[in-house]
Symmetry: C2
Subunit: 165 residues, 2 copies
DNA sequence: CCAATAAAGTTCAATCTTGAACAATAAAGT
DNA sequence: ACTTTATTGTTCAAGATTGAACTTTATTGG
């Protein structure tokens, strides 16, 4: 019985024999598909999922800084520096310097941005509702709670590895 | 009571009031974090999640064609045409022409590729087990079943929109 | 007050991904 | 047999993302 455990690289005990592994693969696959379909449906508004993520965050947290936004979205600051000016040129958002701290740029939705955000959220919500409608509400809630726990755990790993490096 | 429902673009009834929407956002966020952490841990092997996806599929389905692989991974054929030659140069995989059909290239792992795949799978499995260890097995299984159903539903949408276009 | 350090944002080069146009081969229809 | 249509894989240009180096502004410590 020690034999198998002593050989981590052994072909026995393949990952797909682990129930949690299989479960997670299903989660990842569903996410990827959802993303793909969402990308297609958002095309009518000429925006992509990353833009929607930004818009939704500005919708909820008006006046957030680029840094804070990048952290929330788990992307690099440079990403924001490349993407936000484009969205500004398209008239979706506005960037104004902070009065107190001249380093930070605070972000706001324009009226047009707010309209696009609401249309896009309607598309996303409809897709999600349509896709999850057959799943019992209890099951959805239980899933959400599990995911919240995973997020906490993963964030610990994330920050750990970041400061170790 | 009719007032609110008659205004779909109204600011009331925000997406995050819908329990299924909130649930899915949590799923998406957990996935993204998992991906980020996995990317960091795979760096020691000098491969990235897309490479691992390819390796795992070759591990399971030896002799698969580029087309089939692209379909499984939900990426474009051009992606495979760009990525696979790199992996071939790194000695992880091998591409051999099909005898019957001169159009198709069939994919195989090299010995080195098999070693790397096993190391990478060990990393991924360990990360998943570590992250999901506190979730009851029943809950994991229920989640997996939900996800399988979502995948079926989304795939229907996916194919629909593809052939409509 | 001044030097050192930290933080916010930008720039740039490298890498990934995608979709459209293309070449080669196979399958179908006549 | 032969023209048309499909399929497989490649190429190319455009767009997205990242990490490192850099600039400007704040903060900290002497």
């Amino acid at each position: 019985m020690n034999k198998n455990q002593a050989l981590p690289s052994d072909a026995r005990s393949l990952p797909w024999d682990h129930p949690r592994f299989r479960s997670w693969i299903a989660v990842a696959r569903a996410c990827q598909l959802m993303q793909t379909v969402l990308t297609r449906e958002l095309a009518t508004l000429d925006i992509k999922p990353p833009h929607l993520d930004i818009l939704i965050n500005l919708f909820r947290f008006e006046g957030i800084s680029q840094q804070e936004l990048a952290r929330k979205l788990l992307v690099g600051r440079s990403n924001m520096s490349m993407t936000l000016p484009q969205m500004e040129k398209r008239g979706l958002i506005e960037r104004r310097g902070d009065k107190k701290d001249k380093r930070v740029l605070r972000l706001y939705l324009t009226e047009e941005g707010r309209r696009v955000t609401q249309s896009a959220m309607a598309i996303q919500t409809s897709l999600i509702e349509r896709t999850l409608s057959e799943e019992p509400l209890e099951q959805c809630m239980a899933m959400a709670e599990s995911m919240e726990r995973l997020i906490v755990r993963l964030h610990a790993d994330f920050d750990d590895e970041a400061e170790t490096a």
